[in-house]
């Protein structure tokens, strides 16, 4: 058989041309690969530009090309682009092969000769491979219009509302009894200092009332089956022990409940709640939860005070966990972050020195709805501090803990400094390594703090101790630090210390990632499809990420990501159906010996065995195209579209340049 192949080498500006002699490569391909059916070889500045694409289309028409090989960037970036270009010229898109001479060559090598030779090898591999491509049609699967949003923090709330407002159904799953996330715990938000609850609660209420949102709080995702367009998600609803259809949220139950419990979640250990509780007054949904770990009834078998007093008989001590399965087309993960545990830095004394607070504790301390009604006082609950030290970068930018910058601590610490001065008039010291205020209005806020007379000491705090060396230090917390701008070690006595603990990935982020089939970075943040151009999509079709689950960020950024993810999902839903890569396995009934080896190789149970005909068959709907069965079939009866033995074996030939000479060409040209 003879084909007519066009070869196109991209300069990518100087990205490729700077290292690879593109002119030489295209000239070489034109000559040396002529006997391999290459009829035209060109190089061009930007192949992906409209002009570059037109160039290819023109050739397809005029030169009657039957195959196209583009040597440019990674297929993960522009494979679609060039396939569409071919489609535009009525050439089946799957007859186009994109080989990477940028990520795999020009960007990673320095020796021009070697890089150019490797480019030739890669091109020749592509040419050899494309010979065996076949015209394919993408598989079309309908997209279920419903969406699953995991995590009811501000990012998840935003995403859910955007989609629901657009008229599509959303299942919002939240682990805690109420949505709201960390933002609900904060007092003020920087840099504008508007009250966190005032701007958040309206959105929470909208979620609660929205006809298109099924709110599943006190629930967790257990299992995810299927793939983009058609996920089947199993969700476990933990027992609330409240009949929500009867509950009015009147609050009598938690008034009457005799059991006080320290609230380590919402109040960050600063306050108490009852055994039957709503985490905070504006909670959505308004129904309480009975905490069966601490409830006297579950411990001793008696009490039931809540049941006695409930005006609507909404208490049900016999509720059991319940599992439901929902069908969705897309999933957005917005599971947020955990606060760095300051106990891991013993020399900062948190947990040992009473008046050392974490940032979250301090948020509750400032919060008008918090344990002290918004009075900034020391642990004794009454004395206001005269001097306060605020420590930046706690657990962040430190290879001993988290190497990365937590992004919010600078602004958060500035906010704290302002609140302390505003409410107590206390002297405030901020200890920082660098002040990072790279957002709208942030630097101005820093300026404002400077004007307010907050003291800034540049230096990473070495230790915080109660050990006094001089009378002035008696009864104080002493912050020992080098003031790096004057090159002196200073010991600064204060009454109260606030540790701006950084953000880190949820402690179970790895398991959750596995559950949804996406990958984590070294720090366990979820990896986006592209760090700049595709920050809310993941490598897995149909699964998106938003907010801090992708990396530390502040509220504005989380909200934008929530909205962005929603927009991506809506786009998919509007397509009604999506086309999947037709990369699937198929079994040649004639050759199948019925040995059933492939049956067990398939993790998706996509291969079924026909007892009658004694042969196996692939269910294209279930097959994911990994190709393991193809490699495993002893009879060679299974072939994988797009990655057939012929395609790969001849690509090997090509890469070794066997297709043009009888001897393997060594690396130096």
């Amino acid at each position: 058989m003879s084909e007519r192949i066009g070869v196109y080498i991209c300069h990518c500006g100087t990205n490729i041309a700077g290292i690879v002699d593109v002119a030489d490569v295209s000239k070489w391909a034109g000559e040396k690969l002529a006997d391999k059916d290459v009829v035209v070889a060109r190089d061009y500045k930007f192949m992906c530009s409209s002009l570059g694409q037109e160039l290819i289309q023109k050739d397809i028409k005029e030169q009657k090309l039957t195959r196209v090989v583009v040597a440019a960037c990674s297929p993960h970036l522009h494979e679609k682009t060039f396939r569409n270009a071919c489609k535009g010229a009525d050439l089946n898109p799957y007859l186009c092969e994109l080989v990477s001479i940028r990520e795999q060559d020009s960007w990673v090598h320095t020796d021009k000769a070697a890089a150019t030779l490797k480019a030739k090898a890669i091109v020749s591999g592509g040419v050899a491979r494309v010979m065996h491509h076949e015209a394919l049609e993408p598989l079309r699967v309908p997209i279920h219009p419903a969406t699953l949003v995991v995590g009811g923090g501000i990012a998840g709330i935003q995403a859910a509302l955007e989609i629901a407002d657009a008229g599509f159904h959303v299942y919002l799953v939240e682990r805690e009894p109420s949505i709201g996330g960390h933002m609900a715990q904060f007092d003020k938000t920087f840099p504008t200092l508007d009250c966190s609850a005032c701007i958040l609660t309206p959105k929470m209420v909208d979620v609660g009332n929205h006809p298109n949102i099924t709110l599943l709080t006190w629930s967790e995702v257990m299992k995810v089956d299927g793939f983009v367009g058609n996920f089947a998600v199993t969700i476990k609803k933990k027992p609330r022990y409240i009949k929500i259809e009867d509950c009015t949220g009147c609050g009598i139950c938690w008034e009457k409940c005799p059991k006080k419990v320290v609230d380590n979640v919402f109040e960050a250990g600063m306050g108490n709640r009852k055994a039957v509780y709503v985490p905070f007054p504006q909670a959505v949904p308004k129904y309480p939860v009975i905490d069966d770990v601490n409830c006297t009834y579950y411990l001793k078998g008696t009490c039931k005070a809540c049941e006695k007093f409930c005006p609507t008989n909404a208490i049900d001590f016999n509720q059991k966990p319940e599992e439901i399965t929902v069908e969705v087309g897309n999933i957005i993960l917005a599971t947020g972050y955990d606060l760095f545990d300051a106990r891991r830095i013993p020399q900062y004394g948190y947990g040992k020195l009473a008046n050392v607070f974490t940032s979250l504790e301090f948020e509750r301390l400032c919060n008008a709805a918090g344990p002290t009604g918004g009075n900034i006082v020391m642990r004794d609950g009454k004395t206001p501090p005269k001097t306060v030290g605020i420590v930046h970068c706690v657990g962040s930018r430190d290879k001993n803990y988290n190497g990365y910058c937590s992004a919010i601590c600078c602004m958060q610490s500035l906010k704290f400094a302002h609140l302390v001065r505003e409410r107590t008039g206390a002297e405030v010291y901020n200890f920082y390594i660098d002040i990072r205020t790279p957002s709208k209005g942030y630097e101005e806020f820093y300026q404002r703090l400077l004007e307010e007379g907050t003291r800034f000491v540049r230096g990473k705090v070495a230790e915080i101790t109660s050990m006094a060396r001089i009378p002035e230090e008696e009864g104080k917390l002493i912050i020992q630090v080098e003031d790096t701008l004057i090159g002196k070690q200073r010991r600064i006595p204060v009454d109260m210390v606030v540790l701006s603990a950084g953000m880190q990935a949820r402690q179970d982020s790895k398991e959750v990632a596995k559950l949804f089939g996406i990958s984590c970075s070294a720090d366990n943040w979820y990896i986006e499809r592209h760090p700049k151009l595709d920050p809310v999509a993941t490598m897995t079709e149909g699964i998106y990420i938003a907010g801090c689950v992708q990396g530390p960020k502040d509220i504005p950024a989380s909200v934008s990501q929530g909205a962005a993810a929603a927009a991506r999902v809506l786009g998919k839903i509007q397509q009604k159906e999506i086309s999947l890569e037709p990369v699937r396995a198929s079994i040649n009934q004639e050759q199948c010996s019925g040995c059933r080896i492939c049956n067990n190789l398939c993790p998706f149970n996509a291969i079924l065995f026909h007892e009658d005909t004694m042969v196996s068959e692939v269910n294209l709907a279930l097959c994911q195209g990994c190709g393991t069965c193809v490699a495993g079939c002893p009879a060679g009866a299974i072939s994988g579209t797009g990655f057939s033995n012929e395609q790969i074996l001849s690509q090997i030939d090509g890469l070794l340049m066997l297709n043009l000479s009888r001897t393997a060409v060594p690396v130096e040209s």
Binding site: R397, K399, G459, E463, Q480, G487, K488
Partner: protein
């Protein structure tokens, strides 16, 4: 013509065996200097020394007493957020300055270390009274009296032996040492 190795590179070479990160990674956060228990007695804080090395301020660094004031307590090393072995860097500077024979006047450290090693090479064990000879000359009269008082106290309390010990396999021991540093025949 060979071009001179910069001071910062020389120090980097002296830290070749260091088990920490290179000092180019320093954030200048001051954790080391904030931690250091001897910092008040240093001409420059450890952080400043790192900055000065990176700026190739060779003379200023060698003229500083900082690295001879390091007590080798390794507190900076374990706390450094850039995982630089700062205490080891101080050793590197000591080695460098002894190699160049260039250090601040009036320091006892260099003589002491040298004497200490000489003593070990000669006997295989350390012995306080012998050492005294090497550093007392540099002490102020007042210090000498104090040392004297203390020493007598020690001897009386039976803590300070009056005769030096030697190890048995001294010959072989010295051959071993010779394979590392050039030493003349033991006196």
């Amino acid at each position: 013509m060979v071009d001179e190795l910069s001071f910062s590179n020389e120090i980097a070479n002296h830290m070749y065996a260091s088990h920490g990160e290179p000092i180019t990674n320093c954030l200048q956060c001051g954790m080391c200097s904030g931690t250091c228990p001897a910092v008040e007695f240093m001409d420059h804080t450890p952080r400043q020394i790192i900055g000065m090395i990176r700026a190739d301020l060779k003379e200023e660094v060698l003229a500083s007493n900082t690295y001879w004031t390091c007590a080798s307590c390794f507190h900076c090393t374990v706390r450094c957020p850039a995982e630089i072995d700062i205490a080891d860097m101080m050793y590197a500077l000591k080695r460098y300055s002894m190699w160049k024979g260039q250090f601040k006047d009036g320091l006892i450290g260099p003589d002491f270390s040298e004497a200490f090693v000489k003593m070990i090479v000669n006997s295989g064990r350390s012995f306080e009274p012998l050492l005294a000879a090497t550093y007392l000359p540099k002490f102020s009269a007042r210090d000498i009296i104090q040392e004297g008082l203390m020493a007598t106290g020690l001897v009386l309390s039976g803590k300070m032996p009056l005769l030096p010990k030697k190890i048995k396999g001294l010959k072989k021991f010295q051959q071993m040492v010779r394979r590392i540093i050039p030493i003349g025949d033991p006196s």
